[in-house]
Amino acid sequence: MADESYPEDLKYHTEHDWVRIEGDEGIFGITWYAQDTLGEVVFYDSPQVGTQLTKDQSYAEVESVKAVSDVFAPMSGEITAVNEALSDAPDTINSDPYGDGWMVKVRLSDPSETESLMDAAAYREMLKNA
C-alpha cells in the first residue's frame, strides 16, 4: 500500500478522481483516499477504447472483496488507451494510484473543464472537512 499523497501536478474531482493533463490528452485515475477507503482492489473491468466519456459520469467500477465503487470522469472526451495491466493486477491501483495504477487515457473535448476541478491543496482541504 502506498503512503498518502496528492501530487501537485494533478487536478482533482470531488468524487476522488484525478486527471494528469498532457497537451490535449488527459490520464485518469482514482486518488489515494479513494483506494484507501475501498481497500484492496480485487477486480477492475477496463472500459473500451473509443468510448465517449462525459464529465461527472461513471465510466468504470472498482471492486474490493466487500464493496464496489464507481469511477467518475473528471473531464469529457474519448478514450484513446486503457491500462490493460490492471485486469491481471488490479491491486496496482492500491500500490501506485498515480503511476502504474492509471486507468484510461482520454482525448479531451473541452480543456476548459479543468476550471471546475481542484488543485492538490483544495482537494486536501476538502478531505480535511469531509
Partner: protein, 373 residues
C-alpha cells in the same frame, strides 16, 4: 468513486448515529491495530485490519482471532428449560449431550426464519448465541413462547465478550494458553485461557477447526494480547464473511429472513419435525419452488447480493451472498434458484452483475474443501 458501497457490513447495519454505536471490550485494541471500523448491527466493529484476503488466507493456513462480541447470548434455566427449548428451537434439543453444542433455527408459526442459533448445554443452564442484528427479535420471540413454561430466560448479551480462534493451527495456539484440555468439536468446557475463566467452545463459523471463547468483557483484552503476541492474526468481519461463504454457511439477513423457511434455505437437516417445534406444522406442508444453491463464476467478475440469476431455460433467481473467494480466486455465492436447478450441480447459469451478464455454474456445497488448497 462514489455511490454507497455495496458493503453488506455497512448496509446491514442499523441506522444508528455513529456516536451511539456500541463498542466491544476490544475496541481500543482494534484502534491500535489500525482496523477499519464500520457500523454493524448497532456496533462499531472491525471489518478488516491488514486486508480481507490476507486475513482470510491466514485463517485457512494458520490461525486467526475474531472479535465477535457483538453476538448476543440468552441463558435458559429452570425445570422446563429443555422442554421449552425443544418447543422453541427447530433441532432436537434432547440430542445435545452434556457440554455439547447444536445448531438450530428459531421459526415463526408459518416457518419463516427468525434467526439461526448455536445452543450449548451447560451444567445448570442452556446458553444460546444469537446474531447481533436479531438479538432483540429473538429474546422477544423466546419470551412470548415461554408463556406457560417454568423457565427463566436471561438476556446475557452484556455479560460476555466473545472471541473466535480459528484455523488449522488454532488448537496449537490455544494449547500454549489453556489450563487443561481444549474441548473437542461441538463440545464446551470451562477453562482458564491466559489466566481468564472462559467457556471454551469447539465451534466456529469458518469451516476450519478452532474454538470460540466466551468470557467476561474485562478479560477479553488479556486473551487477545496473549494470542496476537504470537502467530495469531487479527481477522475482521470482512474475512469472517468470505470464510463462511466459501463453506456455504448461511448468514442471517442475506441467505435467511422471516420470508424464507428452513426448507428452501437448505436447513432441513437442522429441523426435527417430530419434536413439534414452533413452525414444524407449517414446514410439514411446504414444498417451496426455490432452494438456496451454491454457485461459482466461470467468468471474471464478483457476484453481489441482489443480482438476478437466469437459468438456460429462462427461469430466474436471486443472489443472496456473493464475493470474490480468496481461496479459489473466482466469484462465488449463494442464490435462491428453482429447486430443479439447485439439485443439479454443473447447471450453467447467468448472473446479472449491474447490467453485465456473467457466466456461472451451480456447484455442490461446500464451495471450498481443504483438499482444494
Amino acid at each position: 468513486m462514489g455511490r454507497a458501497p455495496l458493503d453488506k457490513l455497512d448496509s446491514r447495519a442499523l441506522p444508528t448515529p455513529v456516536d451511539t454505536l456500541r463498542r466491544t471490550a476490544l475496541y481500543e485494541r482494534h484502534r491500535a491495530t489500525g482496523a477499519r471500523l464500520v457500523p454493524f448491527a448497532g456496533w462499531e466493529m472491525p471489518v478488516e485490519y491488514e486486508g480481507i484476503r490476507v486475513e482470510h488466507l491466514a485463517v485457512r493456513t494458520g490461525a486467526g482471532i475474531f472479535d465477535v462480541s457483538h453476538m448476543g447470548q440468552v441463558e435458559t434455566s429452570g425445570p422446563d428449560a429443555e422442554r421449552f427449548l425443544q418447543h422453541a428451537l427447530s433441532n432436537d434439543i434432547a440430542m445435545i449431550p452434556p457440554a455439547g453444542a447444536q445448531y438450530s433455527v428459531l421459526c415463526r408459526e408459518d416457518g419463516g426464519i427468525v434467526d439461526d442459533l448455536f445452543t450449548y448445554r451447560l451444567e445448570d443452564r442452556f446458553l444460546t448465541v444469537t446474531n447481533a442484528s436479531r438479538h432483540e427479535a429473538d429474546t422477544a420471540r423466546l419470551r412470548e413462547l415461554a408463556e406457560g413454561y417454568d423457565v427463566t430466560l436471561h438476556d446475557a448479551a452484556g455479560e460476555y465478550a466473545m472471541l473466535a480462534l480459528q484455523g488449522p493451527n488454532a488448537r496449537t495456539e490455544l494449547s500454549r494458553l489453556i489450563e487443561g484440555d481444549a474441548p473437542s468439536r461441538m463440545r464446551v468446557t470451562l477453562a482458564e485461557v491466559a489466566g481468564a475463566p472462559c467457556l471454551v467452545c469447539g465451534t466456529g463459523y469458518t469451516g476450519e477447526d478452532g474454538v470460540e471463547l466466551l468470557t467476561r468483557p474485562e478479560y477479553a483484552p488479556r486473551i487477545w494480547d496473549a494470542l496476537t503476541a504470537e502467530a495469531v492474526v487479527p481477522v475482521g468481519l470482512g474475512a469472517r464473511d468470505t470464510l463462511r461463504l466459501e463453506v456455504c454457511f448461511h448468514l442471517y439477513g442475506n441467505d435467511m429472513s422471516e420470508e424464507r423457511n428452513p426448507v428452501e434455505a437448505g436447513l432441513g437437516w437442522a429441523c426435527k419435525l417430530e419434536t413439534g417445534f414452533v413452525g414444524s406444522e407449517a414446514l410439514r406442508e411446504v414444498d417451496p419452488p426455490e432452494r438456496l444453491a451454491a454457485f461459482a463464476f466461470t467468468s471474471p467478475g464478483i457476484p453481489r447480493p441482489g443480482n438476478a440469476v437466469r437459468t438456460e431455460d429462462g427461469m430466474t433467481g436471486v443472489v443472496t451472498s456473493g464475493t470474490l473467494s480468496p481461496s479459489l480466486g473466482t466469484g462465488i455465492g449463494l442464490a435462491y434458484v428453482p429447486k430443479e436447478t439447485a439439485a443439479a450441480p454443473g447447471t450453467r447459469i447467468e448472473v446479472d452483475v449491474r447490467g453485465k451478464l456473467r457466466q456461472a455454474e451451480i456447484r455442490e456445497k461446500p464451495l471450498y474443501r481443504r483438499e482444494n488448497r
